[in-house]
Subunit: 343 residues, 2 copies
């Protein structure tokens, strides 16, 4: 005989009644069972099973003052979001790790500065315990906004100079770039060019810095700037070829631009890697492996970065959000050179 009317879900009360214990004890068991003697705990678990009890999240939330949800804030300055495999992998990592922590992923899609109000209200409303955001452009007002809302936040990618000191997860852009350039130099290349990314994105800046770490006296004519798209890479390559026809290697700040460079190189009759060696960054598999020739590039563990963002956030959350001993140090993940045919 069911102890509940068919329509509504069983409550903790029902579980307690069925197990012959108080609601308090039932609650203790449901939440891990610490401090409840074995036979009783088993009885409760049995009742939970039989009744198909699932805790009411709202009720729990109300008293614990924790929502069990984390916001993933997606700003959309351009349109490079979900279609960006990079981003997708990161979200997947986040999703997986959040699931492991029994937390929900609430997607907050920011429609532009006009939308900041809504976001602020939402974050300030205590709907989520924490937030995950991505650093995009230097002049983005979002980080400041998020910071003001006091919701513990972890960033993906090193925030620009303007932002307050916040915990973030990034890959070793600078070190990876150094490895790439050193590889090119090790191949005996003497005129190594660089196709840089946008000047207002830290990842691009760091990669350019890595290039200059190795080639500290590099010819300025050997650097051109793109915006991380295939076309911009092609344009930058054409520009470089015009300015420095004698170049014998290119380090592009990402795979997409490297693909664009490859196209131009092919069109101009330069053989890769014989005449010009090319190295990319990111190891976007669909791009790097499909390229002709397959792209030597710097791999980063994108999904791992997503997971790490969550772990970092959880640490902040568990430490009350202040700078305690377990305070949120940022994490830089190592990169790895993947050798294929292009260099």
């Amino acid at each position: 005989m069911p102890e509940q009317p068919a329509g509504s879900r069983p409550t903790l009360e029902a579980v307690a009644a069925r197990a012959g214990v108080s609601r308090a004890t039932a609650s203790r068991v449901v939440n891990g069972g610490a401090g409840v003697r074995r036979p009783l705990a088993d009885k409760v678990r049995e009742a939970v099973e039989e009744l198909g009890y699932v805790p009411n999240h709202a009720a729990r939330s109300l008293v614990t003052r924790q929502s069990g949800a984390v916001a993933v804030i997606i700003a959309e300055p351009e349109f490079r979001i979900f279609s960006d495999p990079f981003f997708e992998q990161q979200v997947r990592g986040i999703s997986r790790e959040l699931t492991a922590h029994d937390s929900q992923l609430v997607l907050l899609w920011v429609e532009g500065p006009g939308d900041y109000d809504r976001i602020a209200r939402y974050l300030g409303g205590g709907h989520v315990d924490g937030a995950l955001a991505f650093s995009l452009h230097d002049d983005d007002g979002l980080p400041a906004l998020v910071h003001r809302s006091k919701v513990p936040t972890v960033y993906g990618g090193r925030p620009g100079a303007g932002a307050a000191a916040v915990p973030y997860v990034d890959c070793d852009n600078r070190g990876g770039a150094r490895t790439a350039v050193r590889h090119l130099v090790g191949l005996g290349r003497e005129r190594v060019a660089h196709i840089a990314g946008p000047a207002d994105q830290t990842s691009a800046i760091d990669r350019a810095d890595g290039y200059h770490d190795v080639l500290f006296d590099a010819d300025p004519a050997l650097t051109a700037r793109g915006d991380f798209t295939v076309d911009s890479g092609a344009r930058a390559m054409a520009e470089l070829l015009a300015r420095a026809p004698d170049l014998d290697a290119v380090f592009a700040a990402n795979d997409l631009m490297a693909a664009g460079a490859l196209r131009v190189l092919r069109e101009r009759g330069r053989r890769v890697p014989e005449d010009v060696a090319v190295v990319g960054f990111d190891d976007m598999v669909t791009v790097a492996e499909a390229a002709d020739p397959p792209l030597t590039t710097v791999r980063q563990d994108i999904e791992g970065m997503g997971r790490l963002m969550v772990r970092l956030l959880m640490r902040v959350l568990n430490h009350g959000g202040d700078r305690g001993p377990g305070a949120p140090a940022s994490v830089i993940m190592p990169t790895e050179l993947v050798r294929r045919a292009s260099a």
Copy 2:
């Protein structure tokens, strides 16, 4: 003087006190203000403003038994979310419309059949008021699972035959395909080939049906099958060329495959559109416009479909989820032929 200790957020109680009304009246105002006289309502609104009051979602949820959240279920049978701009646009539409309805978007990333249990538990747990899912393969077990959980759900794309009758939003795949093929025929083409998509996806089936609607006695040799990827399109094109060297037009079931076809045609020295006219489907801007020559294709309002999914869901939700007079009829959105250079 603040009526609340600095640490915690103001409650409705505080608002009521400040406005000099009862909690009940304050609540009425916060929820629209129906049945409250003007001066009082204004006083309450003022208090809300001054205190920066934001309703506690958990408390509200507890009594209304509504979560104010909608799950977006993303299954990942293969990796087709990967860089699928289609998907991104749909989610954007969903996000926007959900925001307009003051609902949250909870992302449920399904890791495969092994993950179904977790999803079922989550959906059954009353954490969300409804769900949005996407029909992928015919043999996907997810729809059945979702259906069993009793959570009102709207699908993106017509579910396969196996699924129960559920409300869905789709574009007019069949009609769009007819338009595309008619266009080709109108151009005077007499050997119109079709590169079909996966046989277990309704969108591919419907598009193939549209092709046959116009060319009901089409030569079977003029159809080859791909899997919606660029490479598969190229392979299918090569196959078609081998089987029917005299073909003078191709209708590909999506833009990606059309792009692959374009590549092969170019390699084989066939001029597009002079020798072979090509039409795609989807109007993925980045693909269709960047193609060489730019692709004539069938456009669908993807973001609009996302928005519509939400509206449909809201309708179901407001009607108690049963088949009432306002019951969930599915919606088929019109398509439109976009003429570019390839046909």
